[in-house]
Amino acid sequence: MQKITLPERPHWRAHAEEVGFSFADMHGEPYWDETSAYAFSLEQIETDLEDPATELHAMCREAVAEIIGSEALMERLAIPEAHRDLVAESWRNGDPEIYGRFDFAYDGTGPAKLLEYNADTPTSLYESAAFQWQWLEDQLAAGVLAEGSDQFNGIHEALVARFAEVFAPDSDLHFTAVAGNPEDYGTVEAMGWAAREAGMGAHYCDLDKIALSDDGQFLDDQNRRIAVLFKLYPWEDLLRDDYAKQIAGSGCLFLEPAWKALLSNKGLLPVLWQMFEGHPNLLPAFFETDVAGALAGRGAAPADVAEAFGRAEAQLATGHVSKPILSREGASVAIVEAGAVTEQSQNTDYAEHPRILQAYAPLPEFDGFRPVIGAWIIGQSCAGIGLREDRSRITQDLSRFKPHYIKA
């Protein structure tokens, strides 16, 4: 894994504008940045990222079954009591998953370490699946990249195949997002194109335009009944909205399904560690309330995690990251080294949520930037990657999307 400086495509900004990639610059900073790219060997891609990501998704499915069977875990993951049946039912019914993104710390050697699973509302789908792909094709055509260079990016085709696998031809699917956010919308539209290509009818409706019919079904902005709803809006918010109690009886299939609320939740990380302690792609993780006292030398961890904590204590004391169980773009995340906070997110959204502690796996540094690798799961297999890098040790909303390629 290397960071290689490359000439930018001369007209990429005009091209971005032309194809509607309006958030290529954000907050006055470049978001799409092709002044350099990350280069991988095929071995790194397949052995260190693709296979582990697919395996981790299977492990996550085991974790879902575990959490569903435990009221105590549902409680720790802050699933509202009134909606635990909805979450459990979606799992028992086998409601299908479409996509998710693992975030990995990886430097090209050794096992990639799972930081978190964006299993419910991952964004940057368009950049990963489409704009990155176009970059590779253009740079190959221009001779900037050697003939035979490739990219781990079968995301679009995998999505098309997934829709075709899950839904009958000509099924009508609705897509929704909160209005006015081009970045979220980009992901929704990329998803909509894939569904269209799979032969589905795809219809878009702003989230706040969704209505409820007098017989309890959700309707779009034209009062058409919604049978399947892809929502780029997280379950933790859906379950706290006015219509939350209408979901179960609506007959509507939500995508991602409600059981994804258990995975897009940092509470997953201690559950995974408890189930698969020592797995090479996992970092030791614990619920903060279990181990904060013990880590500070006050009292002991509860019996069920005491041994595992004992084995991880030295590593956690050296460095750990404190994360709210629900948090996006690094909000309210803090890095603690040798007992002192050494880095803290300025964004304090989600600060009121319960927290987990995870052993600190520093992101590698390349020319002053720290990349995090997003590994896309489509259906149940890894189908591609996208990288974002940040100057900060906590990847936040000023991170840049970087293209990658596989060396010829």
Binding site: H156, A168, S171, T176
Partner: protein
């Protein structure tokens, strides 16, 4: 064997994408007939439909009629909507129907050339009289001036009407509220991660 897609969708063009991407309604050849015989009679002349298609479509419209005709809880209300003499009890129209629920009589049917049976689409639609002498479909979402003739119609005219059997008479997809999603996340700017 490469590790990347052979093609992608490169454009983000806004909500219009969903219509541009093929959701824009296609038009299909359609015709309305007052009864099966007039459809058969037209077959082979200048009609777009064969006698066989007439049979199939008429059977389908009759099934939809049973499933999805508007229901009323009194004959008076039904006749108010569909005109005098245009209604009967559910018991006379369908086996096992209720004697105290009323529905309009079948006054014709609309047949569409749907080519391959899109799910959720019925290739035919029952037609009912309206109180002003025109014709409407089961969902009462469209009104036609006649029950005889041919035209190009949007495919949405053939959307399978919601079943009203076993539901409160006259249930339709009427919105009772809107805007019940999105408040929990109000104030944040992005919802992805």
């Amino acid at each position: 064997m490469t590790k990347r897609s052979k093609r992608v969708a490169i454009a983000i063009v806004g909500a219009a994408a969903f219509t541009l991407a093929g959701c824009e309604e296609e038009k299909v050849d359609a015709a309305a007939f007052p009864d099966l015989q007039s459809c058969r009679d037209a077959a082979g002349l200048n009609s777009a439909f064969t006698a066989q298609q007439c049979e199939t479509a008429f059977a389908e419209a009759e099934a939809l009629h049973v499933e999805a005709a508007p229901r009323y809880d009194s004959l008076a209300v039904c006749e108010e909507q569909h005109g005098e003499g245009a209604c009967g009890s559910e018991a006379t129209a369908t086996q096992g129907g209720s004697g105290s629920i009323f529905m309009p009589l079948l006054a014709g049917y609309l047949i569409g050339n749907m080519l391959g049976g899109r799910s959720g689409m019925a290739a035919s639609q029952p037609l009912y009289k309206t109180s002003d002498g025109r014709f409407t479909n089961a969902a009462r979402s469209s009104t036609f001036s006649t029950n005889k003739g041919a035209a190009k119609l949007n495919t949405s005219q053939f959307t399978r009407p919601a079943s009203t059997v076993g539901k409160t008479p006259m249930t339709r997809a009427t919105a009772t509220s809107r805007g019940g999603f999105g408040k929990a996340g109000a104030g944040r700017t992005g919802f992805g991660g």
